[in-house]
Each structure stands twice: as C-alpha cells, then as structure tokens.
C-alpha cells in the first residue's frame, strides 16, 4: 500500500513507496499549514483516511487545548526552519479522529519544493512505550514494597521469636509459684481464694500453650527449605492413617487422588497437610458420615491441590481472617483448638511461593485450596518470598 499525494511535483514515486513502508506517521504540510501529504500509517495512528486529511490544517491532529499555541509555533518555525526532535521527555500529545488523545514524539524536517517550502513531521506513537514504562514502574514498586515487607516480616519474626522466648521465664514464675500456693496454702484459703488460684493456673497454662504455638510457627518460617519431589498422595495416606487412629469413632468416607507429586519441602508440606486434614476431620466430626476428599485440579497456571470436607463449614465473610494466628470461627466447646493450624499452613505455602484459600458454606463443608511455586501467567515472573 502506498500513500497518497496530490502534489506529484513534490513527491516522486520512490519516495511514496518508501513512505508507505515507514511504521511512523509522516505528515507533510505547506507554508500555510495545510496538509499536502500523509503516509498510510496515519490511518492506523489517527483513524483518518488520508483523503480526509489532505487540504486540512495540521492543527486537526493537535489537541484542541494547544491548537492556538501550535499555530504560533508553526509560524515561528517557518521563519527559522531547522531539524528538530520533540518528544520522549516532553508531554506531547496528538488527537485522533474520535477525539481521543495519545502520547507522541515528533521529528520535524524542512524542505523546499517547486511548489514552495514544506514541513515534514514524523510522528511516533508512544502509547505502548508509556504503557510499558508504567508496568515496569508498577513492577519495580511492587518489588521494592515486597522486599521491604520481607525485611519487616523477618524483623517481626525475629522479634516475636525472642519475645515469645523471653516470656517463658516470667510465665514459669507465675505458673510455678501459683502451684506452690496451691500445694501449700490451699487448705488455708476459702473458696474464693482457691477459685482465684485456679484461674491464675489455667490462664498461665493457656499462655504457655500460646507461646509454644508462636515459637513453633516462627520455627516454620525460620527453618531451611529442602526441596525434593514429594508424593503428596502417599503422604496423605500416612496422615490419614494417623487421623483414623486419633478419631476411631468417626465414620469417614475417603477419596484420595493418586499420583499427586509436587516439588517442595517434604517436612513442611507434611505439616501443612496434617493441619488441613486434622481440620477436615475435626470440623466434620458432627456428621453421621464424614466425606473427606483430597485431590488436585489442573489449570493453565499450574496445579491446585484441595482438601474438602462436608462438615460444619464457616461463614465466607470471615474467609480472610481464617489464616491469622489464633483466629477461630468456632467455639472451643464444639471444636477444640487454638487457631494456629491455618496460620502455619499459610506460612508453609508462602514459603513455597504458592497461595492458599478456602471456600465454604455454613453446614455444607469447606474446601481448602493451595498451589505451590505458582508461575506468573505472563512473561514476567516474580515470586515474592516471605
């Protein structure tokens, strides 16, 4: 395809062929600012047919707000023509036939012809470039943010580890001396005094449990990862056997998908599966027959593993709370626990650059999903750790 020129004296055939192949928009105007030539790229850039533009003032391609300015620049340019490049740094914009604007860079050239002086403008569309700039900037920002987040997390982790650790000693004093009181002075106390001591002891022991949970959680994050191929199906069967022994009275129908092999840290993945399965068992213990399914689904983004039960379920309004330490949706009478299980699972999955989430409906069971080492869908792969 070849551009259209009205002034054959000014534009020869070779030049027109050449212009047709140029990827940028080329616009030639005369001393009065009228367009005398455009190449075919102009249609793609501006949405005008070449014939729509010929004879029009070049300002038709300039945003309305700067048209006046453009006219005076043009006059100045004609009085002192030289080659100029305008663009990348500055915020030049052009306007399409439909009124939309886009960022451009413009090179200006000047030539004489039998029919007078001509200005040649070569226009580059910077939309893609700007878009790319933005996504690079976004990505950079995200990486900076995640790196900072990771640092903060590490610090927090170290902090919570040492605090939990240091809390043990004073707690031991509370626990130990309240026991001394109980052993040596119980018969000297009235019921109220005894009740107080019992409460102190119960609370101290609960606090001890919480501290141990926190320390274990922090150990999950601090331990070194050793990744191998892990047979999740076999691992699930082993854990299931343990669960059966722990809940001998619970009737469970099981479905375990075969051949689920994943890459990861076997020790950590076992802890994650143990927590998910023990939840499945626990929260379906009210069913006459519990149904627990462990499987995977494949998608373009990799494999998603799931653990499904038909138990008590939970309210999806709290779905994002579930994974916080000590967050529980059920009361301790019906379903005992401290609420550290899913926080542990999340850390383990995070360490595998995966994602974990859940869907549920009250009394209709719950499904917990997770992925491991998930690859980003596009070319840019970016896996924050932490």
């Amino acid at each position: 395809m070849i551009g259209i020129a009205t002034n054959t004296a000014a534009v020869d055939v070779v030049w027109r062929n050449l212009m047709g192949a140029v990827p940028d928009a080329v616009i030639v105007s005369d001393a009065s600012g009228q367009i005398v030539y455009v190449n075919t790229a102009v249609t793609r850039f501006f949405g005008y047919q070449p014939t729509d533009l010929l004879g029009q003032p070049v300002e038709i391609l300039v945003p309305r707000t700067v048209r006046g300015q453009h006219k005076s620049h043009r006059a100045a340019y004609h009085s002192e023509p030289r080659r100029r490049f305008m663009g990348f740094g500055s915020d030049l914009r052009a306007v399409r036939a439909d009124g939309s604007e886009f960022p451009v860079a413009i090179s200006l050239g000047y030539t004489t012809s039998p029919s007078g002086n001509l200005v040649i403008a070569i226009v580059q569309d910077l939309s893609d470039l700007r878009e790319r700039d933005r996504s690079i900037e976004n990505l950079t920002q995200r990486m900076v943010r995640d790196t900072k987040l990771e640092e903060v997390n590490k610090e927090l982790e170290a902090f919570s580890f040492s605090v939990s650790h240091d809390l043990r000693a004073p707690l031991r004093v509370v626990d130990g001396f309240s026991q001394v009181l109980k052993e040596d002075y119980f018969d000297k106390l009235d019921d109220y005094g005894r009740d107080c001591i019992n409460r102190i002891r119960t609370a101290a022991q609960r606090m001890g449990q919480l501290i141990d949970d926190l320390l274990n959680l922090s150990r999950i994050t601090r331990s070194d990862m050793v990744t191998t191929d892990v047979d999740l199906s076999a691992m699930t069967r082993e854990i299931v056997e343990m669960m059966m022994a722990a809940y001998p009275d619970q009737k469970v129908e099981l479905a375990i998908e075969e051949g689920m092999v994943a890459h990861g840290d076997a020790r950590l993945l076992r802890i994650a599966l143990e927590n998910l399965l023990s939840n499945a068992w626990k929260f379906s213990s009210g069913q006459p027959t519990a149904r627990i399914e462990i499987g995977r689904s494949k998608s373009t983004r990799g494999e998603t593993y799931f653990v499904r039960d038909n138990g008590a379920g939970f309210d999806m309004a709290y779905a994002d709370k579930l994974f916080g330490a000590f967050q529980r949706m059920h009361n301790a009478q019906a379903f005992p626990g401290t609420g550290i299980g899913l926080a542990t699972v999340q850390r383990i999955i995070n360490r595998h650059s995966g994602r974990v989430w859940a869907t549920s409906e009250i009394n209709k069971g719950a499904t917990f999903y997770f992925t491991l080492f998930q690859e980003a869908g596009n070319g840019i792969q970016y896996n924050p750790t932490g």
Partner: protein
C-alpha cells in the same frame, strides 16, 4: 520414688526463682534431696571445690547447667568443666529454655550427658538421669 538418692545436684542458673522452683520440684518428687545452687556459672569450679571440702564425693555429684545465662554462657562453663583435671567426668545435664535442635547438638558435642527443656516434668528429668550410666545405678526407683 519414695527414698531420694544419695546424689547431690548442683544447679547453675542465674535465676533465683528458677532455682527455688526446681529445688522444690526435685525434692518433692524424690529425685534428689541434696541440692546446691550456684548463680554464677564462672564460679562452677569453685563451687565444686567447696563441695569437695565439705566431704562430698565428686562421684556422687550431678550438675544441672542452664544454657542461657547473661554473662557467661552455659556452654562456656561446660567447656571449662570438661577441661578440668579433677572434675571433668562429672555428669552434666544442660537446662535450656528452648528445644532448638542446634542448641541440643552443641550441648552433646561439648560433652553434656543430657538435655532438658524448662519447665521440665519430673519424669522427663528422671529419664534424662537414667540415660547416664554412672548416675542410673544411684537412682532410687
């Protein structure tokens, strides 16, 4: 465990509460009756010397050594003891606030004979003692 053993337990810990509670516990549960405490780990050898002077047989001494003490680390005290010509064979159980495997391995590398995490239950302590041949036969079941 009705009759306590003839062993003398030397507990090295900078925390007086910890010493009080441990002394009470091991006596109450009849593991040992003779209990000596030392709050400065760098004084361990001196304390053992005092025991010798008081006529206590060093073959009937057992040390319970806290790992995490602020000034001198318990590991250092263990190192000093194991290099001492006279007392190097006294059994030592390390007492730790953490069940960190690295600490545990280091303790055994440095020549500890046992490792317990505080607060410990008496049967855990008893089990640690039973694992030391020279101590086992002195325990009263």
């Amino acid at each position: 465990m009705t009759k306590p053993s003839e062993l003398t337990l030397v507990m090295v810990d900078d925390n007086a509460d910890e010493i009080f509670l441990t002394r009470r516990q091991v006596r109450q549960d009849g593991i040992v009756n003779n209990f000596v405490s030392e709050r400065k780990p760098e004084r361990l050898i001196e304390a053992l010397g005092e025991l010798s002077k008081a006529g206590i047989d060093k073959n009937k001494v057992l040390i319970l050594l806290d790992i995490n003490m602020p000034r001198a680390n318990g590991f250092e005290a263990l190192g000093v003891l194991r290099a001492h010509p006279q007392y190097k064979d006294i059994p030592v159980i390390m007492l730790s606030a953490s069940d960190d495997e690295a600490d545990m391995f280091e303790a055994f590398d440095l020549g500890a004979n046992g490792y317990v995490v505080k607060p410990f239950k008496s049967d855990e302590f008893f089990a640690a003692l039973s694992n030391i041949p020279s101590v086992k036969h002195q325990l009263v079941q």
